[in-house]
């Protein structure tokens, strides 16, 4: 099926992601911030779908929204909200912040204007139907070693968490 109204959906999702991203840092209540972050992650999943990467979109929803954010909320609910709401939300380093923002913005603008040479030429889009198969093949052939290293790292993280949480095992 041909995609419909791609421009509209791109701006809708991008706008949603930015607006909810701003909400994440401006809300005083950490639970509201977490909910806004969920909206950001969901609209990013929508953007992945528009890039013909349904597998990445699905994984984004399962891992980030269904797993990580639930744990975030789980922890936040146990925090004393009255005290955290009275704490200062922003620190006062305006000059450093503005400088960093301008530097990052200048980087983006310069890449936008003359960055075409840096990036590879756009490849032909693979069919959406075998996207997942391609990811699987790549992970188990070309990128086997990094994939296994990443899983080892995760295992170390799990063991580390258990060791730190339990004093006596």
């Amino acid at each position: 099926m041909q995609p419909v109204a791609t421009t509209f959906f791109f701006y809708l999702l991008a706008g949603l992601a930015i607006a909810s991203g701003v909400l994440v840092i401006t809300r005083r209540n950490p639970v509201h911030s977490a909910l806004a972050l969920i909206l950001t992650l969901l609209s990013l999943a929508g953007l992945y779908l528009m890039l013909y990467a349904p597998f990445v979109a699905g994984v984004q929803i399962i891992l980030y929204v269904g797993g990580i954010m639930v744990l975030f909320l789980f922890v936040i609910m146990l925090v004393n909200l009255e005290r955290s709401e009275r704490e200062k939300q922003f620190n006062q380093q305006w000059i450093a912040g503005v400088a960093a923002a301008i530097a990052l913005g200048a980087l983006f603008v310069s890449i936008y204007w003359k960055g075409h040479a840096i990036f590879p030429a756009p490849m032909k889009l693979a069919a959406e139907t075998d996207n997942t198969q391609r990811v699987g093949e790549m992970l188990y052939s070309n990128y086997m070693f990094p994939f296994e290293i990443a899983s080892l790292l995760l295992l170390v993280a799990i063991i580390g968490a258990v060791v730190m949480a339990k004093k006596r095992i």
Partner: protein, 430 residues
């Protein structure tokens, strides 16, 4: 009729409306599914109360209508008319949006459920991933409801619920992966995550995945079946809403229509996860024994089942009509029950028409399997005592998770047995 309606009805079209790109028919399917599921939830409400009552040697609702048939309508009216209370100190926005998030996540899942080879709203390349991902959003709604109520019991219920759902999701995912692994055992060696593709893989391999590599398929199905009950917060894993400990758990502070949205979400989620289990292990829309009992006679015999079911219900209804008390007070109820049976008999007659019969078959078998699962849910509730929370965690992490990993590894080994044997032979020769 305009082209955008008739195009899809063309006999050569063998895809779902979503894949065909027909917004009109997609909308029709969405409305059908939404209406059907809501109706099923209403029926479930009545059936659960009746069946539970009969299991405990009670009568259940008997007052509103014959055999309490109109009880769901009375309940719905009561819920709509009840005052909608938002507790003082609650976070109003989160409180308001929590039941909506649960409903949204549950009903989004229905997008990819294949009721038949072409009877789904759409078919996605990542179907099963999408289902697991979106249904895991439901826990967000529960956590938000519990936190926003600003009350002790809902908060404890929400904490229990999120811990429970996050830990059972892992076992569930492992069981699903072993079923997806089985779809790749064909000539091309490419598996699929699409819901329709999974059922077609079972068709191509002439078996339901529950019987594949016995007992591996059965074990994976068992893991999923247990995790599924825990995911939907139903007895015996209904700790988040344990009445004796937490009043009603995360929805203690909800009342009226909002509360009924939680109930709708819970029952719709039960139907949704059951249909995942059916699609992955029980052959989806396929009728029983498609390869053992095949041929024109068997096809005809099995295609009569939908009509026979409706005739059976109609006969039961007429029997109860005759047995209604012969008192003028019950006259209207008796007439209504008779008319109800008449409607069922008419639907049964309609299903005898060959064209309707053939079109409805796939959907019928899918729904029949769902009905079986719904009965099991009620049966569990009537039979098992509730688990303690540490027992629940123990079952999830120490029994189901290792079992899931073991089943997954064994499935992979059995699936690649010829390759492994060849590999070992080569090693020995060298």
């Amino acid at each position: 009729m305009p082209g955008f309606i008739t195009n899809y009805l063309d006999k050569s079209v063998h895809v779902t409306p979503g894949q065909y790109g027909s917004p009109f028919w997609a909308l029709v399917y969405i409305l059908l599914v939404f209406g059907g599921v809501s109706l099923a939830v209403v029926c479930m409400n009545w059936l659960e109360r009746k069946i539970l009552a009969h299991m405990q040697v009670r009568l259940g609702p008997m007052r509103v209508g014959p055999h309490g048939l109109l009880q769901p309508i009375a309940d719905a009216l009561k819920l709509i008319l009840k005052e909608d209370i938002i507790p003082d100190g609650a976070d109003r926005f989160v409180f308001w949006i929590a039941p909506l998030i649960i409903l949204l996540s549950v009903f989004s899942v229905y997008c990819v459920i294949p009721f038949g080879p072409t009877h789904a709203i759409t078919d996605m390349n990542i179907g099963i991933l999408f289902m697991l991902g979106v249904s895991s959003l439901g826990v967000l709604g529960i956590v938000m409801a519990g936190w926003a109520s600003n009350s002790h019991y809902p908060l404890i219920g929400a904490l229990r619920s999120s811990a429970q759902m996050v830990s059972y999701e892992i076992a569930m995912g492992l069981a699903v992966v072993s079923a997806v692994l089985m779809t790749s055992l064909n000539d091309q060696g490419t598996g699929t995550l699409s819901m329709i593709g999974i059922v077609q893989a079972q068709y191509a391999q002439h078996t339901w995945f529950i019987f594949k590599f016995f007992p591996l398929g059965l074990l994976a199905f068992f893991i999923f079946a247990v995790a599924m009950v825990a995911e939907t917060n139903r007895a015996p894993f209904d700790l988040p809403e344990a009445e004796s400990e937490l009043t009603a758990g995360f929805h203690t502070e909800y009342s009226g229509l909002r509360w009924s949205l939680f109930m709708l979400g819970e029952y719709a989620a039960m139907i949704a996860v059951s249909s995942i289990a059916i699609t992955l292990w029980l052959g989806g829309w396929m009728r029983p024994f498609p390869n053992l009992l095949h041929g024109a006679t068997w096809d005809l015999a099995f295609s009569l089942f939908p009509a026979l079911t409706f005739f059976g219900i109609a006969a039961l209804t007429f029997y109860s009509t005759v047995r209604m008390p012969k008192h003028s007070f019950f006259r209207i109820q008796t007439m209504g029950l008779g008319a109800f049976g008449g409607v069922f008999a008419l639907i049964g007659l309609l299903l005898l028409i060959p064209r309707v019969r053939n079109d409805i078959q796939d959907v019928y078998w899918f729904i029949a399997k769902i009905a079986l699962f719904m009965y099991l849910y009620i049966w569990y509730r009537g039979t098992f005592p509730r688990y303690r929370f540490d027992q629940l965690m123990k079952v999830g992490w120490k029994v189901l998770l290792p079992m899931g990993i073991g089943v997954l590894m064994l499935t992979g080994i059995v699936a690649l047995r010829t390759e492994i044997v060849d590999f070992v032979r080569q090693l020995v020769h060298i």
